[in-house]
């Protein structure tokens, strides 16, 4: 068995997601053994490759450092993976927007299925994954020679840095032709806060926040707790906040140590994105709100009074 992982990186740094994917790969090779290689594709990615080489369990890092792979556009990145993956039994990536964009394209090029968003490994060919917005968990077995898999990072604890030294780093020469797609621009939300899917604490607002300005009520608490700020789909649909803050089936899946839901009723859609959090707090004035059925600590209160008080007492 041998596994190739597409590394995730942003702003010149290896993303935390990759360490979770390596953990999933370790479970796949646990019984029978096998190599875990990480592919770092991008432009000027030497430092990222070195960081990947320090992850525990990584056998080898392969680096495709070329302008063709800047921004990891689907067309050249899938062509690169297609050229490399023939020697492997498994291809893994995080179920991020990068992994979701690129991996199905590779799967189709290899004429194999993809297994999306696994949350557990039962054996090298059998995996658990949520379906119907997490309202059912399917156990599925791949019958393909190559297993193409995206990994829901919250299902696997990140591997640490290796204590036995760094893995070898080797360059890949393959350069994909791409006349079909061009990167134009990127508008990434600038924030000093941790990224939603990697934060230790997340505080989210829902429709009960009333409007976008009121989301500033969450700022002080987020500052004190080092939390990321999220939102329910209802708050996004109402135009309070941008979609990249959305937690839920159609947004980000989070599983922090502490999740605070404020003015969120708790639609299935939202629960699908946060119910694996370790501790859930709900603040809502409607004591019948379904969010209280999953909350460890529920506070029935008017959020406009409770939030300032909570901020002052933390």
């Amino acid at each position: 068995m041998s596994i190739l992982i597409l590394a995730e990186h942003h702003d010149g740094a290896l993303a935390g997601a990759t360490a979770h994917v390596v953990a999933a790969a370790q479970q796949i090779v646990k019984e029978s053994g096998g190599d875990i290689d990480v592919l770092v594709a991008g432009e000027n990615v030497a430092a990222i490759a070195e960081a990947a080489a320090r992850l525990d369990g990584v056998s080898r890092v392969r680096v495709a450092d070329h302008a063709a792979y800047a921004h990891l556009l689907a067309e050249p990145t899938a062509a690169l993976l297609n050229a490399l993956v023939g020697d492997y039994t498994h291809l893994l990536a995080a179920a991020s927007t990068t992994g979701k964009n690129v991996l199905p394209r590779v799967a189709a090029l290899r004429d194999v299925a993809q297994i999306s968003e696994i949350i557990a490994v039962a054996s090298p060919d059998t995996f658990k994954r949520p379906i119907y917005a997490g309202n059912a968990i399917a156990t599925v077995q791949s019958e393909d020679i190559l297993k193409v898999i995206t990994v829901r990072t919250t299902g696997f604890d990140a591997v640490a840095e290796s204590e036995s030294g760094a893995a070898s780093v080797e360059a890949v020469d393959f350069v994909a032709d791409n006349a079909q797609s061009t990167f134009l621009k990127e508008a990434l939300a600038k924030s000093d806060r941790p990224e939603l899917s990697a934060a230790r604490v997340v505080i989210s607002g829902g429709r009960g926040m009333g409007n976008g300005e009121n989301f500033t009520l969450l700022d002080g608490i987020a500052d004190k707790l080092g939390a990321a700020i999220g939102a329910s789909r209802a708050a996004v649909d109402a135009g309070f906040v941008p979609n990249d803050m959305q937690v839920g089936q159609t947004g980000k899946i989070v599983a922090p140590e502490l999740y605070i839901a404020v003015g969120i009723s708790g639609a299935i859609q939202h629960l699908a994105g946060m119910k694996d959090s370790k501790v859930i707090v709900a603040i809502n004035k409607d004591e019948e709100a379904p969010i209280f059925q999953v909350a460890d600590y529920g506070l029935v209160a008017d959020l406009f009074q409770a939030l300032p008080e909570l901020e002052s007492k933390l």
Partner: protein
């Protein structure tokens, strides 16, 4: 420019699903079905392109059992011109997987030669998020996934994509494949006269065999279970009590 739209029949998003007692699958008996919400957005986008004079014809396709023709009629009522049903009832009574669906769509694209093909980014039943990307691979075309804005100009498509942390805009040569995210548009409701008119719009039927492709399953569904139930906790009476619990009981706040 012809626009092809793929739609999928799924459980209505308001329905709370049940797992069958034998854990073989989700129970869909007598459950309300509907067009996948992301596919509604795809139909809407195509119809708007036609209203702007960019699209000349909107062709809607579904792959599935005979009952899926209901969703084609819905798409026709929303403004699509013509429908194609790839009837899979002879091949399988199970779901058609993404790769099989992509193969059927790729064959139809050979025949129809659309300038743009729009799909929903994922279906809310299997939550796979694969078919559009696979279709792009099989046809050798560029892809703009998770689109929140699509601009067709000078023979190219500028697609703004919802990515982790914000938005990314790419320019694609045409023909291209686009998959829709939630904020791309707000789909209209079909008006009664349009629903009546839709019944007379052309709907042709083909099969995977006629298209010369296989929709055979590659992934075995071994078991379906309900998720581990999370136990509700307690209600606290005040912010003070909440802070105390978080500090001293849950120990998640220093």
């Amino acid at each position: 420019m012809k626009v092809l739209v793929a739609v999928k029949r799924v459980i209505d998003y308001n329905v709370k699903i049940r797992v069958k007692p034998d854990h073989s699958d989700v129970d869909l008996t007598n459950v309300k079905m509907a067009m996948n919400p992301f596919c509604e957005i795809a139909v809407e986008e195509a119809v708007r392109l036609k209203e702007k004079g960019i699209a000349t014809e909107v062709v809607v396709v579904t792959i599935g059992p005979k009952a899926a023709q209901e969703q084609l009629r819905t798409a026709l009522a929303l403004g699509a011109d013509r429908a194609i049903h790839v009837d899979t009832s002879a091949e399988t009574d199970e779901r058609v997987e993404s790769l099989g669906a992509a193969k059927a769509l790729a064959k139809l694209m050979e025949e129809e030669q659309p300038g743009l093909t729009i799909l929903g980014k994922q279906a809310i039943d299997t939550d796979n998020n694969q078919t559009g990307q696979m279709l792009a691979a099989l046809t050798g075309l560029p892809q703009g996934t998770f689109a929140s804005e699509v601009v067709i100009e000078n023979g190219k498509a500028q697609v703004t994509r919802e990515v982790d942390g914000g938005l990314q805009t790419v320019e694609l040569t045409l023909p291209a494949i686009v998959t829709t995210d939630l904020r791309l548009n707000e789909p209209r409701y079909a008006k009664l006269p349009d629903i009546m008119k839709a019944k007379k719009k052309p709907l042709s039927v083909t099969t995977p065999a006629e298209l010369g492709i296989s929709v055979a399953s590659r992934v075995k569904l071994l078991k379906v279970e309900p998720p581990a139930e999370r136990q509700g906790g307690i209600k606290v009476g005040s912010v003070d009590e909440l802070v105390d619990k978080l500090k001293n009981e849950a120990k998640v706040v220093a």
